[in-house]
């Protein structure tokens, strides 16, 4: 006999599925941001559950900086094919070629900020009226304040001081034409919840999340994998370390952690013992104290 209580993972799952269905019902043309990072994989997994046995009623959308690890891109393509979803790719390079985005210069140049331009162009071009993102409130302090249904004006901007109140299970996705919503079904998941959920569900991840040996350089205290996009500079030495990635971003800014965790169980142990946040290795968040809020106001993920 059930006592009619749900475990915390089941509650989070039920909430995320509700949000995904609500997005399908309230919007005409939503897209699901899919970077092949763990959060977007979990979101896509939940979307499959929400609409089973039908296919998910939105395309996967990837904003590709062109600076991704090949493992990420291979995973992305295989995943879209496996679930029978359309995949739309917005290329940062196209925005640069069009002149709407300008490549950063200087020592710590990255294409992170340019993603906002490409994302907004993709939304406009594809006429998405809602974009589902895998953002979580525990990730960053500005995100802790964001709604499940987060309004964007016709410039794609977020106004954090003037957000719609969200009560009970009642989500207000009404908007003027030209405006859109960002929707975050995983808002209440923590990093630990995501790992525990992936473990329970047996979700496959790109190999980069598991410990492996790789050539790296250490730059500003961040371990960066040597790749086509990251080459050692003067004074930097290439070392081989056993590492894994806690988040999956642009190869030029996503730092790795030294780790022996090569299975999900071992990663969960590591996450439980971690003393640094997962974004602690993200150079994009370190630019200023309110780097995330500043980028989000402009229309970042």
């Amino acid at each position: 006999m059930s006592d009619y209580t749900l475990s915390h993972l089941n509650q989070l799952e039920a909430e995320a599925i509700f949000i995904l269905r609500e997005t399908a019902a309230q919007f005409e043309n939503p897209g699901l941001l899919f970077s092949a990072g763990k959060d977007s994989i979990v979101m896509a997994h939940l979307a499959r559950k929400a609409f089973y046995p039908a296919r998910i009623p939105f395309p996967l959308v990837h904003v590709d900086t062109g600076h991704n690890f090949p493992e990420t891109i291979a995973f992305r393509d295989a995943y879209a094919e496996k679930i029978g979803a359309r995949l739309h790719i917005g290329l940062v390079q196209d925005s640069i070629d069009r002149g709407t985005a300008v490549e950063e210069t200087g020592a710590n140049a990255s294409r992170n900020k340019l993603q906002t331009v490409t994302l907004l162009e993709t939304i406009e071009e594809q006429q998405y009226d809602a974009v589902l993102g895998g953002g979580r409130r525990d990730e960053e302090k500005a995100r802790a304040k964001e709604r499940f249904f987060s309004h964007r004006n016709d410039f794609g901007e977020w106004d954090p001081k003037n957000q719609r109140p969200e009560l009970w299970n009642l989500f207000n996705g009404r908007k003027q034409s030209g405006e859109h919503f960002r929707v975050f079904p995983l808002s209440n998941f923590t990093e630990m919840d995501v790992w525990m959920y992936m473990h329970r569900e047996g979700i496959d991840l790109p190999s980069l999340y598991y410990a492996h040996e790789r050539e790296v350089v250490i730059r500003n205290g961040v371990i960066l994998a040597v790749s086509e996009f990251v080459q050692p500079r003067d004074g930097e030495t290439v070392e081989v370390k056993k590492i894994r990635f806690r988040t999956m971003g642009d190869a030029t800014i996503t730092g790795a952690v030294e780790s022996d965790a090569d299975t999900m169980e071992r990663i969960i142990e590591e996450v439980a013992a971690a003393r640094q946040t997962e974004r602690g290795n993200r150079a994009d968040d370190k630019r200023s104290e309110t780097a995330m809020e500043d980028r989000k106001k402009e229309g970042y993920f």
Binding site: S2, Q11, E15, R21, Y52, P53, A144, K145, L170, Q276
Partner: protein, 414 residues
């Protein structure tokens, strides 16, 4: 492991941020880089101590002004439970945030400064907790270190609170705890400074308070959210009704009625993720198939035939007004209740409540920002509902201004 959602309310100086910082810190939910970042910010601002409030005050404007503007959600877990804190600011102009945070909470922590005792704000928070039907309240009498850990002071405050709260019927479980958030007294461990206190520490209470009975598992309610039609060869005839159970328990074979059509049928199967389930209950998100082909769409409600909800177009409700524009009693609104949406007009304002004195003011025609009161509504199409006191999911609604698309009010049906 289960989940407890709680809300904290307090004013600038009563130690709310310190309490949250303490819970996060002691449960090892604050990371080194976060701590370093706020140490650095505190140093830049010239603060003497590390300002734990900076952990929750995430927005630039909040950090500049040293105030909390918006509800912030915080997470921590112990081996027993996962916790979601809706941290809401306590200023009077932010009633809307307290209402928002309270709407999804199982429990409220109401902070009282031991030097000040029960003040207007305490009453305001308690009134909102009661209005939003939070059954479990912890009255945390904070800063006990500043009153020499005096049992007499504590007992006096608790007696004052209980005499006031006896008027608030929904607060069925009130637990007072004397604490010092700053020093950690009675937060995680029982404090040696207050051997006279026989209750448990705050964290122990949060870990063990029983909230399983907060959902309604009697009156079966299933608002249809989305119709699943796969249009594939394999599932050619599949028509599934997707949604989140809002009350009661559904099982295959149950006789149900479809609202508003009134047609009767039986539940054929219940699915979650392609697996058949023996039963479904609130707040599970599931998909149901039915024995008969009946026209059903989003906004309809499936209920057990022998236990229907109220239905009608003339409704009585308590609302909290959220907009800077005063309520225009002749205006039309969009009302959203469960997955249903229709138009509504406010027919009458019965009274508003002065939330500082809890007195009713009659002869009012409108509401201004953050005011709470009772109204009569008429809707264009009937709603299927329960009293908010019986079911939070089917008894709640929001009003949307069709011109601006803003959510202008939250309501609880009587």
């Amino acid at each position: 492991m289960d989940l407890l959602r709680f809300t904290t309310a307090g004013s600038v100086d009563d130690g709310k941020s310190t309490l949250i910082g303490r819970l996060l810190y002691d449960s090892k939910s604050i990371f080194e880089d976060q701590l370093e970042a706020i140490e650095e910010s505190s140093r830049k601002k010239g603060d003497e101590n590390v300002n734990l409030a900076l952990l929750t005050d995430g927005l630039k404007a909040e950090r500049e002004q040293g105030i909390t503007i918006d509800v912030a959600y915080r997470y921590f877990a112990t081996p027993k439970r996962k916790f979601i804190i809706a941290d809401t600011p306590g200023h009077i102009q932010y009633t809307r945030n307290m209402v928002t945070g309270a709407s999804t909470a199982n429990l409220a922590i109401i902070l009282i400064d031991a030097r000040k005792g029960v003040i207007e704000q305490t009453k305001r928070h308690s009134f909102i907790a009661n209005l939003l039907r939070i059954k479990h309240v912890v009255v945390a009498v904070n800063k006990m270190d500043l009153v020499d850990y005096s049992q007499e002071v504590y007992d006096g405050i608790v007696a004052d609170y209980q005499s006031f709260a006896s008027r608030l019927d929904n607060l069925v479980d009130i637990t007072p705890i004397p604490i010092s958030a700053l020093n950690g007294d009675n937060i995680v461990e029982k404090s040696e400074n207050m051997p006279w206190f026989e209750g448990s520490s705050l964290l122990y209470h949060l870990e063990n308070v029983y909230v399983g009975g907060d959902e309604n598992h009697v009156q079966a309610r299933f608002p249809v959210q989305w119709v699943i039609r796969p249009q594939s060869d394999k599932f050619h005839d599949f028509r599934g009704f997707a949604g989140r159970v809002a009350g009661g328990v559904f099982r295959p074979g149950d006789e149900i009625t479809v609202l508003p059509s009134g047609f009767g049928t039986r539940v054929k199967k219940i699915f979650h993720d392609g697996r058949e389930m023996e039963e479904a209950f609130a707040p599970q998100s599931i998909t149901m198939t039915l024995e008969d082909e009946i026209d059903i769409s989003r906004g309809d409600m499936l209920v057990k035939a022998n236990n229907p909800p109220d239905q009608g177009q003339n409704l009585e409700a308590m609302i909290c007004w959220f907009s800077n524009q005063n309520l225009n009693p002749r205006a039309k609104f969009i009302i959203r209740q469960t997955t249903r949406e229709t138009k509504a007009i406010v027919q009458n304002v019965s009274y508003k409540v002065d939330i500082n004195t809890l007195r009713k003011e009659e002869d009012v025609a409108s509401f201004t920002l953050n005011e709470i009161g009772r109204i009569s509504l008429r809707t264009a199409a009937p709603l299927f509902y329960d009293s908010y006191n019986d079911n939070r999911h089917t008894g709640s609604f929001i009003l949307i201004d069709p011109g601006t698309n803003e959510t202008v009010a939250a309501g609880m049906l009587l």
